[in-house]
Amino acid sequence: MLGDYSLTDLSSIFVMQGFAGLILFSVYTLMALGLAIIFGQMGVINMAHGEFMILGAYMTYLCSGFFQTHLPALFPAYFFVAMALAFLASGALGMLVEWALIRHLYKRPLDTLLATWGLSLILQQAYRTIFGPREVGVELPAWLIGSVQVTDTIEIPINGMFVMAVTLLITAGVALLMYRSRFGAQVRAVVQNRPMAGAVGIDTEKVDRLTFGLGCGIAGIAGSAFTMVGSTGPTSGQLYIVDTFLIVVFGGAASLLGTIASAFSISQTQSTLEFFLSGSTAKVITLLSVVGILMLRPQGLFTLKVRR
């Protein structure tokens, strides 16, 4: 199948598909970052993670509508407000859920899975009731529309670059927060030895709530970014949850670097394959290879070896 294309065609295809893959990579990375914090650090399987993302997407949708009708002058900047709002809304909902549901289930990880699945059904129906069953899209400000012509055959969309930049910033922020800040140290302390962390004066309940909220908040930002590449419906989040879990597991659940590397390899594989094969075959091959590798190397790509 490669023989039908000339070398320059091929390189353009790889660059263009590579870039399309980068946008997918951005959404995956943001989704997976949140999940890596919640699943990797706290051991909670949050099946409603996709719905937290979609909450962020709906927030962005609401914002775009609000700025269009009430503050048209500020419309070009609405996206920044929307991202902040998405983070806050998803984060706040996350903290509420942690308080009402998750904290009772820390010792039963498989049960968090069922409970959060129930939560995801409720959220989906709530979105359907509030926003209607049809998918909605957002209006992009003018400066995000269009693309940069790099060569004759290669052009790169501006919104894609914007999403990438946001992803990089947030990834850097999360890395700083988890590995350089006092909060990050507390999170890791609680994860590694809960009773001891409590004994040295860390408010473990508060750390749990903030960690869960942070993970959900990042999912909200992922939702914001998601509006640029797809339209938002009540069940859009569910389509991403399996992929996201695979990314986190594939990367080695406790490693942020692994999460990013695995989001990158999975999105690039899928995006490149998609050009040559049908979308569904590309997806099947990508998922199958991930599952296959995980069966051979269940600990994921990046893990520490410690005494069990």
Binding site: L114, I122, Q125, L246, V284, M295
Partner: protein
């Protein structure tokens, strides 16, 4: 316990009196009460629900006892269903039934997708014995491969759940994508006869309902055999202290694989019976959503109770039908709340509620009425 000789205390009867009563009750409801009360359409609907309870039954063994949560049981339900549907579809696609097609004698969806010859993996499904064998063996083999690969490498708990879920997603995408070989999103439809016997009539539905019920009771009895064997206790022990079992000389991976395979075979039997009674099979029974929904049947019934699994399935589906007929909006809220409530408040489901609230009173009453055991104990089949 008034029976004094020490050896009797450690007897391990096939079923305790209460379990015999539960079985009798379930059998009475399936074989007498429901057929008398319900019209043909509703009875067929109950038959459909009962096919799901095979899956729930397998989950009790695999998840409740073994602690292995599979979120991909739809895969095995679907495999059983599809394998049966392949046979039925070939029988429905005889040359004279399909003479208007450009290639007569092959299933209609293949013809629509410009396939001109029956693919090799469809060919053996002209034989009913082969099909029945395949329904039992293919899912077991598939589960064996997955189970061996994962459990040997000590993958368990949440990882196993996520990977089985991914497998369910992959199989769904594959079935939907390969329309020409699988019927795509619509599934395999328009099934007519089983070895010449028309399965679409009310009387056929009726007979299939009883066959289904019989198979379910047989599966319950087999599950009960596993549960009361030492293997059943090893599963419980493993769920609790896996290392202790390992260092008592057991190959933990083989036991987990066995539980997973058994659950797969149960699910596949359910799937095959589903196809026979409902008359089609589609990818909407394979994916993540149905797979997780089937877990909730077992959870509502009580993850440790074989009979609970059946009652839980019937109850949830009855609620689903009732609610989604009258308040479709509310159903998802209700189902979601059910998930949360079962996990938070009733982790042992209906069986747990029964055991804490009903059974103590019941036994007190039975004991008050007469000193001897209330039910003549049938001899344990050892």
């Amino acid at each position: 316990m008034t029976r004094s000789p020490a050896s009797n205390v450690h007897d391990n009867p096939f079923m305790k009196p209460m379990e015999w009563i539960s079985l009798a009750l379930l059998a009475a409801v399936i074989f007498l009460v429901l057929p008398m009360l319900l019209d043909a359409f509703r009875l067929n609907l109950v038959g459909k629900y009962l096919t799901y309870s095979f899956v729930a039954l397998g989950l009790v063994i695999c998840w409740g006892f073994g602690g292995i949560l599979s979120l991909g049981q739809g895969v095995f339900f679907g495999l059983g269903g599809y394998l049966m549907a392949m046979y039925l579809k070939l029988e429905a696609s005889s040359i004279e039934n399909t003479k208007i097609q450009s290639t007569p004698g092959i299933p209609d969806f293949m013809d629509w997708n410009q396939i001109t010859a029956l693919p090799w993996f469809w060919k053996p499904f002209t034989s009913l014995p082969f099909t029945i064998l395949a329904v039992l063996v293919v899912p077991a083999l598939f589960a064996f491969v997955i189970g061996t690969a994962m459990f040997r490498r000590r993958v368990g708990g949440t990882y196993f759940a996520i990977i089985t879920q991914a497998i369910a997603a992959i199989l769904t995408i594959l079935i939907v994508g390969q329309q020409g070989y699988t019927g795509g999103i619509n599934g395999i439809t328009d099934l007519r006869t089983l070895h010449g016997w028309d399965i679409r009539t009310d009387s056929a539905h009726n007979i299939l309902y009883f066959v289904n019920g019989g198979l379910l009771v047989a599966c319950i009895l087999f599950a009960q055999y596993v549960k009361r064997s030492k293997l059943g206790r090893i599963l419980l022990a493993m769920r609790d202290k896996e290392d202790r079992v390992r260092f008592s000389g057991y190959q933990v991976a083989s036991f987990k694989t066995f539980a997973f395979c058994l659950a797969a075979v149960f699910a596949a039997i359910g799937g095959a019976m589903f196809t026979l009674q409902v008359g089609f099979m589609s990818p909407s029974f394979v994916g993540i959503v149905p797979s997780i929904e089937m877990v909730i049947y077992a959870a509502v019934g009580g993850r440790l109770s074989l009979f609970g699994a059946v009652w839980g399935t019937l109850l949830v589906n009855w609620a689903k039908t009732t609610f989604s007929e009258s308040f479709p909006e509310l159903w998802l809220f209700g189902l979601g709340a059910l998930f949360i409530a079962v996990v938070l408040a009733f982790p042992n489901g209906l069986a747990g509620i029964y055991r804490t609230y009903v059974e103590p009173r019941l036994t007190r009453r039975v004991k008050a009425l007469e000193p001897a055991p209330a039910v003549a104990l049938p001899h344990a089949a050892e």
